[in-house]
Symmetry: C2
Subunit: 407 residues, 2 copies
């Protein structure tokens, strides 16, 4: 079994890196805080005698070449260490640090894998500063060119490639340089299912599709006091109609689609001026591609009607679009079996969040292991998973990796 | 009659001061752009041989003491030269520049007033950078202490008193130092009524009440992909419900209340995070104090229900609150008579916008003169009033001022 204290201590330490003035954890991809997190990660990889490699999109790999079978495709375990704004400490970091922990445990046990074991930390999984999310793993899997990714402009106007250069993590490996035999990602659920049902391990068999759009509504700025309601083209009001429409559909429709408007801004953004412009994002998710497309179409139709009814112009821009992914059935079974052998309850489940596994599944068999999130809270400082649950998940990962690295 | 070319040329010149990189007119109170506008105004006042005085809140006065009757209460004509963001060129400036024009015309005609005539430009009428709006005239009328006004913190974190010092317009006169005999303000309508009805002059007999609030909704940040709709406390969605509620009431109710949400922000404002906080402004206006209070109460009741239904906390903060004002019936009649004598059509009307006249009406008889706004558009670069309409309004002002300055 893994060294529980060492794992929990590293999670704690990494969670202290990137606190802002208000003590919020903000370690956005490519930032100074990300650099400090990466430096800590590399030092732990070195402590585990791993060979450290960085690719052109800044993904970090800790490679354990333990045997003469160096030319074998490696088993890869990974996740990310970038965070959202005002984040919890587990999202992503738990999976990466558990990967190092698993390797150190196998090393200490004298285990001789029949192929290399690699722990990966992918760049910009959160997609908060640069879109799309899961960028590093997407590039690694060949779904986005390195050039395009590096030229991404962030919400703060920064360019990802320049930021990676600046913080010293613009590596020279070609993304995809190690083609994995299999990929496993351990992650907190970030949703309420496991806790609610009292189950310790999620054997993640699929992951929902993700559709991100930016919507811009153009109305007419006018005076708040003198303009009769009937003469208004109020971009802000039109935006509020879209938010309510999405919620109504998500609540009433038969599909499990969830919809979120997380970002908004008005122009000119003055108390006594009818907004001439509203810009906001829409995040739609559904495990079924067909119903995700139906929701996208319903939104598009609503926007067309709204533009006519409110006398506004509406433009949409695609920020990210990923189809649902079905994970490798064999690995899912290995996860279930490993849980059972450890006396842990498990259930097959869908991932509500996007993960690097979703991208790496394009190039090799992949699956995920979830542990419970208390109250289903994530992307929030109150994100929490108990120590025993974290340790249980890492032990399942240990067994799954040693299994996959033995064939 | 006034010198049409001189007036239109000054409006044009002042409208070029404060253009930003994107050629938008942004001359917010206390800014560098405001300083340049003020400097131009002062130079025109000096050209008209006016004695220039500045009070502690930065209001600028151009005083024409033409006779031995210097101790008489002056007739005051005024408005403001600060602008909103991406403004038109007429709002406020037209009234101030017409005041100088009227004085120069009277001077040239050898008119000898029986009391001083003063043209005033009040500080921060727009209320965009600092609240409340009509701040300079409110302080002048004794409705807000100089100290409180000078310590106002702007949307950009600046302090009005420091900004006035910096731009050299923190004067030494005590606000209210000249107690007017009467106050007249010439302004563009900023609404659609006059143009729609084909009328040249509005004799403004009252002005609606203004209620500004800032509303903060606190929800719970959580993951956009994993959090079931039923478990969300979405501050952004709750804000959209308020915007829709206000619109529905404004459209359906029997009251003429108009409601506008002009400013909004979400926190943490990320595409894949349910907003934990939404902050937005509500601008309610009604010519009837009773129905304005009823709308405020309806909003408060809705917020209480919404907080319970959505599991959010809602706090409201008062930004500005002004009761409706009834202008002086005698001056309104003088405006009507002057219009008729000039062969101009006129109608009595309500002002939808707030104006400095609303504040100065607290300390002396006051009224306003409106000219048509094409399409009712204002607080927008497309704000437009034709040259002949501008000249007609200034000539009515000339007649009204010479009348008031003769008794
Ligand atoms: N796991 C996770 O939070 N990923 C971020 C991408 C997303 O699902 O929004
Ligand atoms: N006239 C004018 O636009 N005043 C600004 C204050 C307001 O009415 O919102």
């Amino acid at each position: 079994s893994i060294d529980a204290a060492r794992l929990l201590d590293r999670i704690e330490q990494l969670g202290q890196i990137g606190r802002d003035g208000g003590d919020r954890l903000v370690r956005l991809a490519g930032s100074d805080e990300d650099k400090r997190g990466r430096d800590a990660l590399v030092s732990w990889m070195k402590e585990a005698n791993l060979e450290v490699a960085v690719d052109k999109i800044g993904n970090i790999f800790g490679i354990w070449r333990a045997s003469s079978e160096d030319d074998q495709a490696p088993v890869m375990v990974g996740s990310h260490i970038d965070t959202v704004i005002d984040a919890g400490v587990y999202d992503g970091c738990y999976g990466v640090l558990s990967g190092i922990e698993v390797i150190q445990t196998l090393q200490a046990a004298g285990f001789v894998p029949s192929r290399p074991i690699v722990v990966a930390a992918f760049t910009n999984e959160e997609g908060v500063r640069y879109t799309p999310d899961m960028m590093g793993s997407l590039v690694y899997a060949g779904g986005l060119s390195v050039e395009e990714a590096l030229s991404s402009v962030g919400t703060d106007g920064s360019v990802l490639g320049e930021e990676l250069e600046r913080i010293g993590y613009a590596g020279c490996e070609e993304p995809g340089f190690l083609k994995p035999h299999a990929y496993v990602e351990l992650h907190i659920e970030q949703g309420p299912v496991l806790e609610k049902e009292g189950i310790q391990i999620g054997a993640v068999e699929n992951l929902q599709g993700i559709s991100w759009q930016r919507i811009t509504i153009e109305g007419v700025a006018n005076h708040a006091g003198t303009t009769p309601i009937s003469m208004r083209s109020d971009a802000g009001y039109a935006a509020s109609r879209v938010i309510s429409f999405l919620r109504d559909r998500a609540t009433s429709s038969q599909t499990p689609t969830v919809a979120t408007v997380g970002c908004i801004s008005f122009e000119p953004n003055a108390v006594n001026i009818i907004p001439s412009r509203a810009i906001f994002t829409v995040d739609l998710r559904d495990p079924n591609e067909h119903s995700l497309q139906a929701e996208e179409a319903a939104l598009a139709a609503f926007l067309t009607d709204l533009a006519a009814a409110e006398g506004v112009k509406i433009a949409t821009e695609r920020m990210a679009r990923f189809e649902p992914v079905t994970f490798d059935a064999t690995i899912v079974k290995i996860v279930e079996a490993a849980s059972e052998q450890r006396g842990l309850t498990s259930k097959r489940m869908t991932s509500g969040a996007g993960h690097d596994a979703q991208m790496i599944a394009r190039i090799c068999p992949a699956a995920m292991i979830f542990v419970p999130s208390i109250g289903g809270i994530s992307h929030n400082p109150r994100e929490f998973t108990s120590g025993p649950d974290l340790v249980a998940g890492a032990n399942v990962l240990l067994d799954v990796i040693s299994n996959l690295a033995s064939d």
